[in-house]
């Protein structure tokens, strides 16, 4: 099994400086995970991740049934900074499955140098239809010359322009620092997305 880890170094952090500077090829690490059954997306053909899959929970009740309507719904990913990491995993699963669920990613990031998985995302964005990832990057501090927008913070208006409208009933995944996630989730609800269609993950560094 191949596991991809994305590490955002937090100065004076407890874990990330070790992973970035000290860990060497060949070193042995003990892993716990992958963790988190909530902030995940699986291609419709694949069984969704069971809610309870540990010992003692074997039984029919363990497998959640996803209504077919939500399986066919488009998927909107919204990332703030390194919050793109779990969303990249979803886009990657979408690409590997050659799944035709419509996928959009809105990625807010400071500068071109801060973009995680730039090459991989570009490849998803140019993949043949219908597996294409519809990718929009909003640069907040410094934009490349070919960016359609001057650098600036993400606004409700940009989110409205660059995401599936509520009428398309998308499943929305938002990941980023807490203030980013809360602000974007509030905008989405104000635009008519039902709170239950929005899944969020807030991160803090360590």
């Amino acid at each position: 099994m191949r596991v991809v880890l994305a590490v955002a170094e937090v100065p004076n952090g407890e874990v990330s400086p070790f992973l970035v500077h000290d860990l060497r090829p060949g070193d042995q690490v003990e892993m716990h995970g992958p963790l988190g059954a909530y902030f995940v997306w699986a291609p419709p053909a694949v069984d969704p991740v069971p809610v309870l899959n540990g010992p003692g929970s074997a039984g029919a009740a363990a497998a959640p049934s996803v209504p077919s309507a939500s399986v066919l719904a488009p998927v909107q990913l919204i990332a703030g900074g390194s919050g793109v990491v779990p969303l990249f995993a979803m886009a990657s699963a979408h690409s590997m499955a050659a799944d035709d669920t419509p996928f959009r990613l809105l990625y807010s990031v400071r500068t071109p140098a801060d973009v995680f998985f730039a090459d991989e995302l570009a490849a998803f964005a140019t993949a043949p239809a219908p597996a294409t990832l519809d990718l929009d990057v909003v640069y907040t501090r410094e934009a490349p010359a070919d960016s359609p927008r001057a650098p600036g913070r993400l606004t409700a208006e940009l989110v409205r322009q660059l995401t599936w409208p509520a009428e398309a009933s998308p499943r929305v995944f938002v990941c980023g620092p807490t203030p980013f996630v809360e602000t974007v989730a509030r905008w989405l609800v104000a635009m008519g997305h039902p709170p239950g269609a929005i899944r969020t993950e807030r991160f803090g560094g360590a």
Binding site: Y38, V181, A185, T200
Partner: protein, 99 residues
């Protein structure tokens, strides 16, 4: 203090219960609101985590970490349901009144 959310409890809860509970539906003993455990507001310190109801702020789950293992208190949970969260409207920070 900056909060996170219930997604960060995945590891500690898995250590205690042997399963990933973040997608399970929790109900708050105080206000009765139901939603994914992953959407609780979680305040983390070196001592552990306190998870609060996004609607009424009641303390629902407390995780403390001993020398080598976590201990979990489900003090404010009326129930924990393995029903898929996609079937409930859920709570989100977005539905919480601001200000």
């Amino acid at each position: 203090m900056q909060h996170l959310d219930g997604n960060v409890l995945a590891g500690d809860l898995a250590d205690v219960f042997g399963a990933d509970l973040t997608a399970a539906v929790a109900s708050c003993t105080v206000c009765g609101t139901r939603g994914a455990l992953a959407e609780l507001r979680v305040y983390r310190t070196a001592m552990g985590s306190v998870a609060r109801c996004p609607q009424c702020d009641a303390v629902l789950v407390v995780v403390t970490r001993g020398p080598d293992h976590p201990m979990v208190s489900l003090v404010g949970l009326r129930a924990l349901d393995s029903e898929t969260v996609s079937t409930v409207s859920g709570w989100t920070s977005a539905s919480r009144p601001t200000g």
